[in-house]
């Protein structure tokens, strides 16, 4: 009897506690935000540094820098060249060194994507440049591994470059191999006749890359190239991403029937580019394409590969989205209106996070100049070309989204500037009123539900700043 009383009291106390304490955010899992832009590897130091400063202001934690293998390595290959030696005088590292140093000095985590083979590392029987753009034709996996040794050694955190005795380059721990390996723009051939060719070749490149990068430091993290969202039927120039992943992990058909897999893919994370032709909630029309809401199609393949030992090393792999964007208007007359651009940015982060993505990278920090035209160049930046911030800049700094889950219930999600209290507010009578207080965890990502009927204007607020307002229907 006494015991029952004690239990009742404990339950009562727990209930009272939940009433008294502010709501806690249920989301402990984080979402790292990054940016990628060619301006980070600009030759002009002032320009590069200005935009890296703004990247920090935007609260990005990571920058993805592009390392063009064909630009760093000599071409043609000189006699006596040692491709594994980062101090070989034929290598040209100056621009990348400066970018890595400048980004690291600002506290940004650096990831490097390697792509574009020098001509001497391409495969035999090369077709025309029209059919296979420079640097894309069957890059030699052995040469990929050798370059990976050189670049991972250079940014191992203990490397002293020739000519600068005593100085040590900062470490880089995140390594990505190739951009969009399901597109002929970057890797050829995609098909041999109607049979997929690129996944098998890419797997060989990836495994050589993985072995070399991990050989330099087991702390290194290897990420696959991010697949482009849309493809063509067999024989086309673009392989559909779901087909690409199925083949990479040695599966066939929609039921993922296993095929021989003597050399399974080695990686720590896979990546996809959910670049949408419409809103972030718009699903791809084809079952083998994958836009933002479709990551489950790829995750399903990955999880089966994990269970069946078709991806190594054993264990759960993470999922990155290394390129997301929309063009905005202004400045591009065909882009999405600026406010919608901001809204879609925040909403895509939310949707990616909900699907298990742990790092999302927005392309780019500033708009490209419209040369030769808006249609041919990306105006996807958080800033206009002249440095004016867009609303997307604020959405990136403090993303906040509402998602109706019932007639009287809305899930709100966001990434706060810092751990601590956040108030969910509603606009009423021209004033913002607190609806709920939550305690944001260290990951800074929060998710909670509020009671809400009908449409309303919502936002999240900390002690010092507020998110953009979110119109909830």
């Amino acid at each position: 009897m006494r015991r029952r009383l004690r239990v009742s009291r404990a339950i009562l106390a727990a209930l009272l506690l939940t009433l008294v304490l502010p709501g806690s955010a249920s989301a402990a899992r984080g979402l790292e935000l990054g940016l990628t832009d060619s301006v980070y590897t600009a030759g002009d130091a002032a320009t590069r540094q200005l935009w890296l400063d703004r990247t920090v202001d935007a609260r990005a934690g990571l920058v993805l820098l592009s390392a063009s293998w064909g630009g760093i390595a000599p071409d043609p290959r000189p006699a006596g060249f040692d491709p594994t030696d980062p101090n070989d005088p034929a290598y040209s590292w100056a621009t990348l060194d400066a970018a890595v140093q400048d980004a690291t000095a600002r506290g940004l985590r650096v990831a490097i994507i390697v792509g574009h083979a020098p001509s001497w590392a391409e495969g035999q029987n090369r077709p025309s440049l029209e059919e296979a753009p420079a640097g894309t034709w069957r890059p030699d996996p052995v040469a990929v591994g050798q370059f990976a040794t050189a670049i991972a050694t250079r940014y191992s955190g203990s490397f002293s470059p020739a000519g600068l005795p005593g100085s040590v380059l900062p470490p880089v721990r995140v390594w990505q191999l190739w951009a969009e390996p399901n597109l002929s723009n970057y890797l050829t051939p995609q098909f041999e006749g109607h049979q997929p060719a690129s996944p098998d070749h890419y797997r060989q490149m990836l495994n050589a890359f993985y072995g070399s990068v991990k050989g330099v430091s087991s702390d290194n993290f290897v990420l696959t190239g991010g697949t482009a969202p849309y493809g063509d039927p067999p024989g086309g120039r673009r392989m559909q991403p779901v087909t690409f992943w199925r083949e990479l992990f040695c599966f066939k058909g929609k039921h993922l029937r296993g095929t021989k897999c003597p050399d399974p893919a080695q990686l720590d994370a896979i990546s996809h580019h959910p670049i949408n032709v419409g809103s972030p909630r718009r699903k791809a029309l084809s079952p083998d394409d994958a836009s933002t809401p479709d990551l489950g199609k790829i995750a399903r393949i990955l999880h089966k590969a994990e269970r069946r030992g078709r991806v190594l090393p054993k264990g759960e792999k993470s999922f990155w989205a290394t390129e997301i964007w929309w063009d905005s208007n202004p400045p591009d007359p065909e882009g999405v209106p600026e406010a919608q651009h901001a809204r879609w940015l925040a909403e895509s982060l939310y949707l990616l996070w909900r699907q298990g993505v742990d790092t999302a990278i927005w392309f780019q920090i500033r708009d490209a100049a419209p040369e030769p035209s808006f249609g041919a160049t990306p105006q996807t930046g958080l800033f206009l070309q002249d440095g004016t911030p867009k609303l997307a800049y604020e959405a990136f700094r403090f993303p906040f989204v509402g998602d109706r889950t019932g007639k009287r219930k809305v899930r709100v999600w966001g990434k706060a500037p810092a751990p601590g209290p956040v108030w969910i507010q509603r606009s009423r009578g021209g004033e913002w009123h607190d609806l709920k207080q939550i305690e944001v965890p260290v990951s800074r990502v929060f998710q909670t539900s509020i009671a809400l009927r009908g449409k309303a204007m919502l936002r999240a607020r900390t002690d010092s700043e507020a998110s953009l307002a979110w119109l909830q229907k």
């Binding site: 949408n276 032709v277 208007n329 591009d332 999405v336 307002a469």
Partner: protein, 171 residues
């Protein structure tokens, strides 16, 4: 009865089949990310009734549904995304304006955004349902589709009526 139906069914059935199949074959089209009409990597080809048929990009010779090179893609991506400017009422806008800078910004957001997709624009793909069901694009049948459907319905109704009358007389 069943036998009679089978013998007489082909005409209405054929009309129904035409009504259903023709717009489906017209549905295949190319959609590009807004503002990137000349970038050939990221366009989406909507599958037609036989699956994805085009293997050429918007600049390629084949195109899709007559999308003629970059012009076709321009058309697909052209025009601004419709903004739901009238989404908030005057009273709500007034309330937001009272909120100062935040309210202005919220009003801007409200004016330019809405939780749903922008107004249906087949060239951009429209909403999920429209796009997935192959809603006719601007190359579609236009007024022809409702006319065919209406004609099919009238013929089918007439056929059924005749059947019933026939049975009634026989009975």
């Amino acid at each position: 009865m069943v036998l009679t139906m089978r013998r007489k069914a082909p005409l209405p059935l054929a009309l129904v089949a035409i009504a259903v199949l023709v717009p489906a074959s017209e549905a295949s089209h190319v959609v590009v990310p807004p503002g990137n009409s000349q970038i050939d990597q990221y366009f989406e080809t909507a599958p037609g009734p036989g699956g994805n048929n085009s293997i050429d990009g918007p600049d390629g010779p084949g195109g899709t549904d007559g999308a003629d090179g970059a012009d076709g893609a321009d058309e697909a991506g052209g025009g601004s995304v419709a903004a739901d400017a009238g989404y908030l009422g005057a009273e709500e806008l007034e309330q937001l304006e009272k909120l100062g800078g935040d309210g202005q910004r919220a009003a801007e957001l409200a004016a330019a955004t809405a939780p749903e997709e922008p107004k249906p624009d087949a060239a951009r793909g429209g909403s999920d349902v429209e796009a997935a069901s192959g809603a006719p694009s601007r190359e579609g049948l236009g007024i022809g589709l409702p006319l065919i459907l209406a004609a099919t319905a009238i013929v089918a109704a007439g056929f059924l009526l005749r059947q019933r009358l026939g049975h009634a007389r026989a009975g």
